[in-house]
Subunit: 279 residues, 4 copies
């Protein structure tokens, strides 16, 4: 018996769950687990169904499901095979390290197909796990050219997701637009109150914050403003200087990124406008 | 349009969700929200469905649902009316205080119909919120007699739930058995490692624990061992003496009890053997 | 044997701890507990010393301590007597409720001397705990006049601290300036990212945040920008609508305010520029 | 200017802080940071002082400090050099992975001098970071002999600390006694309630716990009962099967171990009977 995940998304309507589950029933597919959500404001319906059985005629199954759903329905049936991840980095090792280690120990349902950085610093770490590393420096070339090279390097390895694991460059709308929404995942620090501009940990220190947060989100053209997948915070106090705050921030960043990534790889995340539904 | 909650529980089988949601669809009831869970080990199915619509013929609706489910199915359709709570206490005010205040401010979907204590200490607090208080002292009478009086006082007010809000007496099997499983809710402190016997906070202090926990659970005949509804912890350190630990413990106790109570009152908790399913 | 708390604050210098503790030693005062902090950037020194002994000649003791400290030193010796709290409110009961209940049960080292609101809604709650309530409506009068009346009501009861427990009015610089920095304590919701303007929970919902925070701080003329005493967050998800987020926010607000208040009342909070040192 | 850490531990007495800080002052050593704790029950005094200055005559400095302290005083002056860690493992990679990665990225003030396992599984991971791996199998030999070989392998590399990073063998009293208390650090899962015996995650699942914890502690002859350094928990729910709980447990185990290790390496942990003082 195989397991696959059916992902359904459409305008809300009466009886959607019944319609879909009836067809699963008809195809002798057992529902191992199911989550669904219907938004009250814009009436969107999202459902994640873990099915178990023999998937003999997927095409028919999917078109039959589509036939009972509103015309705007998006229906996918995903196997549990490992996804392909490309990881973009700059100099900080903490997020890349966690990704490599979790993938190495089998705790992440993904293959890291490539690491690319605008600095060479993390090439050694990638090499230790036998992952190809591409240096795509930004020095001496235009932003446009650097991004074109980076996109080339990414596209060559055909990843399912691109993880910006402390890639300290702002992506141009052109590069963002080169990928479908939901393919690029970013992690960044977050503060209460929010700080804009350079040296955020210095600003956090100057402001005397008592917690430091991190936000994992899909990338859109609004900097640090795409649909949020996961957030968390860590406590700090007056004994923390700016460097200590940055260190604490790195711990919460890697945790939040790994949780977000884990949910994405489990097909638990739907994009809903500028928000997410995370089952 | 009214909202009601359909609670379904039975042996797991293929197509259960479709069968139930088909009937909801047939009765023109819209599914606002639905959660379900099927256990893999003992194959039990639990579903909570928030329905919206006109509930014209509930009896037919329920019997039609039962007719498509396994014979062991338990099906309930609950309105959103306030539940009746009886609260048992001894001397500590923190849990009772939160219950009274949340009920007072409308944040708890319940009416506190009575407070009963084996000491008179909290009578004043109940009176401040115009809640009847019954002193059921254990002094000078047998355990059996005290429990009989307490059960009488409870039964006279016909509560939906009885909350043991730091009621510091161990209930006899006879008193426990007097109520259906799921009606009595208890809160107690919890430690890593666990401590048995008197003065648990002194033991926790002596052991040098770094966290103190609380567990809210349904009451069974195994002392502190019924189905767990909610747990949480609070951090402590070497600066805490036994009294400070008890104070920290009180804060986590009231939070855990309120969260458990809130979920129970929202019909989000199913009992599953000696465990719970909490949607 | 009595306990008092010695609070020392001055420019940092070599040997400050030795100088102060030598004098404590000379006066036969035992150090039960001591915390100190010296900032690296602006070289300020803060120390909280819990002393036990017979406090026969406090004036001499304090002037002797001052004589060995830099000229800018502020030295206080506080007893453990209950502080006087005035509480300002509007319509929401959750923060006031916790304050009243904790004070009632002896868990807060304070007397609530007065509650004042710009709406009458919470007068009943205050009355249940025998606390005087003053309605200082803003209707039909100027901001200036309303503030003058409020300050009068506050000053009449001579409080040590004024707690803005969801008092939904922005204080003018004049009213803020009427009190020394450190006397006014406020609680407000906080978000990642931050939201400005009306209906913050609606904005948080629209943005799809996964955590909701609260910040307790001393009040300055920068709205929501005074020295932060305590912060924390609570997790939310896509199932929360704006009202659910507000409800979750109320729970974290009352917890954060109570923790901040408890530390202030224990003389554990120093103001350090626009930051705090919280021992 | 160099920084060193002065660690003082002795019977409590009046004026200890003054006596020590006076001598620091005399030697022109500035106190960058200081924490102290005096236990009320058994009257023990612990102090950690971060000193900055020129450490010209350490021997005189330390003997002068000892001369003003009770006879049972233990005084150490530690530099900030990296400590030597030996890591014992079995088959699970999560704790070793975090240690290696943090050491690699410079976030841990330690050199991993050796990894030893009773199975060969983690040899590859150690090799990727150029750390020597020793297989000390328990197969075909007595417990005594296996432990002798392990101690030999450990002692050959002369570590400051031995970290049992999911080393799934119970150490005999003989092996425990071979090392001073405080040298062996262990991590283990913890539950509310506690579970004894095999398959703890299966027991936790069967019991329906809502949180899973981890405890890092120094090793003594009482299995899982030495002085606790750090504890934390992670939330789980009815959707977690035993394998999911074990996976969640691994995440909290590695976090708790890393926090404990970080504090030990910063000389922030004192052993106080069967408890710890963690500054």
């Amino acid at each position: 018996m195989e397991q696959k995940i059916l992902l359904t998304e459409c305008s809300d309507a009466v009886g959607l769950i019944a319609r879909v589950t009836n067809i699963c029933f008809k195809y002798n597919l057992n529902i191992v687990h199911q989550d669904q959500f219907a938004s009250e404001d814009d009436k969107r319906f999202f459902m994640r169904t873990v099915l178990s059985g023999i998937f003999a005629n997927e095409e028919n199954f999917l078109s039959e499901i589509k036939s009972v759903l509103p015309a705007d329905a998006i229906v996918r049936l995903n196997g549990r095979q490992k996804r392909r991840l490309a990881v973009l980095v700059t100099k900080e090792a903490h997020c890349l390290g966690d990704i490599l280690m979790k993938a190495y120990s089998g705790a992440l349902n993904a293959d890291i197909v490539m690491v690319a950085g605008n600095y060479p610093d993390l090439g050694d770490l990638a090499a230790r796990f036998d992952i190809p590393f591409h240096l795509v420096s930004h020095e001496g070339i235009s932003r446009e050219e650097q991004e074109e090279r980076m996109c080339q390097v990414i596209d060559d390895c055909n990843p399912d997701y691109v993880v910006l694991a402390k890639y300290m460059r702002i992506l141009s709308p052109r590069m963002v637009g080169h990928y479908p929404l939901g393919k690029l995942i970013n992690i960044h620090h977050s503060f209460l109150p929010a700080f804009i501009g350079a040296k955020p940990y210095q600003q956090a220190f100057d402001r005397g914050v008592k917690i430091i947060g991190a936000t994992a989100h899909f990338v859109t053209n609004n900097l640090d403003e795409g649909p949020i997948i996961e957030q968390d915070v860590i406590k700090v106090n007056h004994n923390y200087d700016a460097a200590d705050m940055a260190k604490a921030g790195r711990d919460v960043e890697r945790l939040v990124l790994m949780r977000a990534l884990s949910r994405v790889l489990d097909d638990k995340v739907f994009i809903h406008g500028n928000k997410t539904v995370v089952f």
